[in-house]
């Protein structure tokens, strides 16, 4: 039972990070391979401030949010200067730099990481795994809510326009630089908060947890689930968290399993398993239409 809850919390937290990643990679179309670094910055600041400076869980949350958000704004500013492919490479480099900083700076505890984060307390009681389950579910709810507000707003519409054609977006009045940078800031801010919760949940963190491999995994989750959709981000994250748990006996071949899965999805379902116009999404839409007598007016293609 405990094991199931631990897997569930992990899956929900991963889903939260991938939904936040969808803001930049999905809506704004920026190939972001550094999300794990922002997640890590949130986790690390939470760990350092609580273990070494005795701050409470609730006090470190806003700090983690702020630090990751600022770092994201910097990356957003970089993205304005680079074409997509060069930007992707830059994010890879950035992720390595952040991990190197975690390893080499004493403040971050060096290569061994930081151990013994205290359990968060609420009203005098220490958190159990059940508490973490509720908290992570609330967090996922928050990230989903923010994403929905963005998706349905003028801002989100313009991010999608930026994804396809920056010149069109700016000709329609969008301040492209401001919108891109703020999307990165928002996405990393959310990832930072999730990182802080994650650090407290697993109670010890090491630099490699937030490495480039993890960023690739996060982006794979989004691609497999369905880039540009909230449900895709959630489905992808949950699937790729559960599959390795179910195939633990094959843990040596974990990367191979991911790779094969990713290739299969991209070959046969490039929109992602539940992405826009995927088999499942179309099937669900058909069922929904059949269940209602009057066809609903569809105003948007991109959900």
């Amino acid at each position: 039972m405990t094991y199931a809850i631990v897997v569930a919390v992990t899956a929900i937290l991963m889903a939260s990070v991938v939904v936040s990643l969808n803001l930049t990679a999905g809506y704004a179309g920026q190939p972001n391979l550094a999300q794990s670094a922002f997640f890590g910055l949130g986790a690390y600041f939470a760990a350092v401030l609580s273990v070494q400076h005795g701050l409470s869980f609730w006090a470190v949350l806003p700090v983690s949010a702020l630090v990751s958000g600022l770092a994201g704004a910097v990356l957003g500013a970089i993205s304005l200067r680079l074409r997509e492919d060069f930007f992707a490479i830059t994010t890879v480099g950035l992720n390595f730099v952040v991990v190197a900083l975690f390893k080499s700076i004493d403040f971050f505890g060096g290569a061994t990481g930081i151990y013994g984060l205290p359990l968060p307390t609420l009203g005098g009681t220490s958190f159990t795994n059940d508490h973490f389950l509720v908290l992570s579910a609330l967090l996922l709810g928050l990230v989903v809510l923010v994403s929905k507000v963005v998706r349905d707003s003028w801002y989100g519409g313009m991010l999608m326009a930026i994804r396809e054609d920056e010149l069109v977006a700016s000709s329609l009045g969008a301040p492209v630089a401001l919108f891109k940078a703020s999307a990165f800031a928002l996405s990393s801010l959310l990832a930072g908060v999730v990182g802080a919760v994650y650090a407290f949940f697993i109670s010890s963190i090491t630099p490699e947890t937030f490495g480039f491999n993890q960023s690739v995994l996060l982006l794979s989750m989004l691609i497999i689930g369905g880039m540009g959709t909230i449900r895709g981000a959630i489905v992808g994250a949950v699937l790729l968290t559960l599959i390795p748990e179910m195939f633990r006996f094959a843990s040596d071949y974990r990367s191979l399993v991911y790779g094969v899965f990713l290739v299969l999805v991209l070959r046969f379902q490039p929109q992602g398993l539940v992405g826009e116009d995927s088999w499942l999404a179309r099937g669900a839409a058909r069922l929904l239409r059949r269940s209602r007598s009057a066809p609903a007016a569809v105003t948007e293609v991109s959900a």
Partner: protein, 273 residues
């Protein structure tokens, strides 16, 4: 007739020059567009028409000269800032936001004023009643009501061109720059397009039109600007342009039928910027 009108020009182009390395794309071009006026920009491929549009819409900073909107010069050449001053545009090669519906494309065009600042732009774009009506009106104006809910990537070239025009009109601009709206629409797309251009003009929106279908352009225009190799060759009313010997020599040719200059539309695409 030149620029002696008493009305303050909406847009004034003053001695614009643009140099790309060794190529002088535009050289000392000056003219103006008055409120509600329909002005065509014609000239052969490579004359600098698209470059001119890119300068006026804030995409391209000129090497010399300036562009004034309502008498005030553009200082920072950024498309969103020019847009905010009431200038919309379309592109030579249609550029839809393909994953959005036709309606959402036009809606995005209508939201320009909601974009000043991240926070105000976070309001839901589907709930603004005034804008919804405006979008419906524009879709009808452009004859797009039937395809409103189709993804923009899937509609016909003619519909796509009119969608871009409707999108450019979304934020109530006072001037729209239309870059070859007839390119690729086919012969049966020309009539609805010409009707739309006429209706825009009737609504009091000034139009600056680049078009290879010179007959179409001149028939709609109050005045025309003729460019050749980056320089202003002629400026005047359609009849003056048709009769201008320099224009005929450089561009129009001498064939005439029923009073209309017959020029085969160019099929090649000009440089985009």
């Amino acid at each position: 007739m030149s620029t002696e009108g008493k009305v303050t020009p909406l847009v004034e182009v003053r001695g614009i020059g643009v140099r790309f390395g060794g190529l002088q794309a535009l050289d000392d071009v000056s003219f103006d567009v008055r409120p509600g006026e329909f002005v065509s920009v014609i000239g052969p491929n490579g004359a600098g028409k698209s470059t001119l549009f890119n300068v006026i819409s804030g995409v391209q900073r000129p090497t010399s000269g300036s562009v004034l909107i309502d008498g005030r010069p553009i200082r920072r050449y950024r498309p969103d800032l020019v847009h905010a001053r009431g200038v919309g545009r379309t592109f030579q090669v249609a550029r839809p936001v393909g994953s959005l519906t036709v309606r959402d494309n036009v809606l995005l065009g209508a939201g320009g004023r909601r974009l000043h600042g991240v926070l105000s732009s976070l309001r839901p774009r589907g709930r603004d009643k005034t804008l919804q009506h405006r979008v419906d009106d524009l879709l009808e104006l452009a004859g797009l009501t039937a395809v409103a809910h189709r993804p923009a990537a899937e509609i016909s070239p003619g519909d796509l061109r009119r969608m871009e025009i409707a999108r450019a009109l979304g934020d109530e601009p006072r001037l729209v720059l239309l870059d070859e709206p007839a390119a690729g629409v086919g012969s049966d797309g020309l009539t609805p397009l010409a009707e739309l251009l006429g209706r825009i003009s009737d609504r009091g929106v000034a139009v600056l039109l680049v078009e290879h279908y010179v007959g179409l352009a001149l028939s709609l225009s109050d005045r025309a600007v003729v460019l050749n190799r980056g320089r202003l060759l002629a400026l005047g009313e359609p009849d003056e342009i048709r009769a201008n010997q320099a224009v005929i020599d450089a561009y129009l040719g001498t064939k005439r039928s029923r009073g209309t200059v017959v020029v085969p539309p160019a099929t090649g695409t000009e440089e985009e910027r």
